[in-house]
Amino acid sequence: MRYLHGKLSGAGVLLWPVLLWIAAFALPLVSVALKAAGSVSELTGVIQSPYYRGVLGFSLKQAALSTLFSVLLGLPGAYFIGRHHFPGRKILRSISTVPFVLPSILAVLGFILVFGNSGLINYIRQSAFNGNKEPWKILYSLRAIILAHMFYNFPLTLRIVGDAWYSLPQSKYDAARSLGARPVKAFFTVDFPRLAPAILTSMVITFLYCFLSFAIILVLGGGPQFTTLEVEIYRLIKYQLDFSRGSGLAIVESITALGLLAVYASIDTVLRRRTADDENAVKIRTPGRISGWKTLPALLYLIPALFLIIAPLISIVVYSFLNRATRASGLHLSLTHWRILSGSTRVGVSVPLKAVIRTFILGISVAGITTFTAALAGWYTAHRKGSVVKLIETMLFIPMGVSTVILGLGYLILTNSIPGGKALRLAALTAAHTIMALPFAYRIISGRLKLISPRIPQAARASGAGPISAFFSVELPLARGAIVTAAVFSMALSAGELNATIILAPSGFTTITLAIYRLIGSYDLFGACALGTVLIVISIISFLTLDKYGEQTL
């Protein structure tokens, strides 16, 4: 606020966050842009090439289809969550945050276990038809990509639209009904226009997630006909070392994404203007229980929906305790992969165990730096107003909209021009993860600090504590929950990250996600599941802390 002596006092604390942002975010992106600008012929070549047009077209097409089905699948759930009470409503609402915290490589792994050729669904079909049925083959196709995106992203719609629906005053719908509108008419004329911004938001977020989707395409897409810009950039820089062309594609991808966001912003403004004078419900009426004819559709929807969210995760855990003697033999209980993971092999520490240890070291470093940076920035912005605060908040928001593959490309271009090797790559990897986690950590911490009345630090000051002592003795302890949440969330984000890791990790530096990716590639699903289970535990801890402290601020 206006308190505490002028606008810029205490600005010294911003030195570190700003330096980090410039060095770890702006610099790599600028180097990508410069690389692309440096070879305009490459850029025009990319735009004119029918192959890359095809890749762009496919990226957009799969994203559009995935979005359509995800939102369609999510909407009924949003209705049930927004307008009804039922046993498990709270749980369903909570676990709809799963896509926020579930690493995409786990979504892929879970998808293979459920929908794969010898997956859960085929297993059920085989049992039902006494093994006389041809297995249902879906992997490595457009359908697989869309289905995986759908299962990964429909909870977004469930959550965003469901919450909007819940806070929508029922009274206006009731008014329309009492004036003679039938339910469907009342919905489309009264509720739907006011839900439109939320639906649009969930569509745009889903579309961007799918458009920039990496792990799912990388594993399930296979061949060149099912590749997206994100994966194509990765292939160019990783296998062909063609940074110029990679940068050109990165520019095309970024412009497309930004254009989409611009269109979204303008539509959103129009939609919101239309409902600008719509106040929130004075009192949110407790929604009724699901009853009568709605029971059957509700059950038909909610049970499969819950299944779609949970089954892949449970499969991962269950599979980690199974094994197959040969490819053709049946499954049996086994601790083989956990034994390998716990490191009891003859040749010293096993690769999976090393991966776990490295992931933790990397994650803890990322959590430390991210939380420290976010706390500094949050302290500055919490009780001040003005252009500096706006600038800082914008700076810390932008990284959310940048593809991590492009960020990784930027680091590659930078580190290639500096000799340094492995240590430099590791530093770059840590920086990339920090930049990714920073927007979330900042929102969690500053959200809490902003809730502290400015009078409380003032009371400490009047009692005789200096500004720094007041921060450490009063504000910091009050924000402890948020700081723990931010640290755990950053750590989990780093642990689950694949895109930047696969690009930047120096050879020999295997993390959990990299190991899972490679194990899937070599069809060692059980081994992947053991590591996957470790990742699930990390994600669950992150999910639970977030659910407890940070939910409102995300």
Partner: protein
Amino acid sequence: MKTSALIFKSIEFRREGFYLRADNTFPAGKLTVILGPSGSGKTTLLDLAAGFLKPDRGSIMEGSQDVTSLSPEKRRVGVVFQDNALFPHLSVKDNVAFGPRARGMGRRQAGMVADRYLEMTRISRYAQKKPSSLSGGEKQRVSLARALAIEPEILLLDEPFSSLDASLRRDMRNEVRRIQRETGITAVLVTHDQEEALSLADYLTVMRDGEITQMGSPAELWNFPDNLFTALFLGRSTRLKIDKISILKSNLYSVETAAGSIWVEQEGEIPDLPATLIIRPENLRVSNSGKIRGTVIEAEYSGDQWKINLSVPGNSSDQIEFNCPDAAAPIIGDSVTLLHQPGSVRILPGVVS
């Protein structure tokens, strides 16, 4: 406890369309109440005194020491905030011990200081509790103890009772009064509640649009307001626009208003027109020999008496207010004549627009 006066010397403070001026002394060892409507700058004045805000011009003194450039922790000013601003993560005792600790006292000694002030504010039994488990009144007691524990020279209280209900408010008011007398500290309390202001204050000031209009004892301000704002803000009163003033003899005037021609006894200089006549309700009573005429437009029963409002033909901004015992109360529409004491009437410059 050492006490000093709080002195504002030619203070000016400007922020986004708000302009505060102050040139006042808040006397040492006394409780001064600042009364004013919301937005008048009361809290800003306290924030300046505490050091949360810096004035653009002028200086702030604690006794003979200039504290203008000192940050809050360097001043010896205790603050009780409107929303109590207790540290929610610390126990009641640790809240109170926070100040002594922050000022370098050892743990044990700070604890003893805290105990002393918890006892003074009568909340020792909650010492180990967290603030969240206390009631509103108890929280304000802790807040008071915390402010006193740094043994300040000046105690600032920003609407300390506004979140309490009526009976608690009276108790807390008495507590603050008692503690201020016991410690003999210089205290400045801000409120928008005039009953509170009148009953608590050694000195009272009324603030308006960032300016202190008048400072004096409550009785002085009540009986001899020197400006229209103070007169109208403090309690109910009759106000009549003056058309003409004629001198009868020294200090005695005949004043023409739409409600009649009224005798006024007033010492000192009489303001020029435009001016307004002010009479407190308790100085008016119904009488056939009265000179003030009006028609009853409102009659509000308040238990022990009726509060009557009269309208005056010809001037809509005029208003007559008086109190009347139950038995003799007129009803709406009645014409009434009122008798006044010439010495209880004030002529003040300006008119109500």
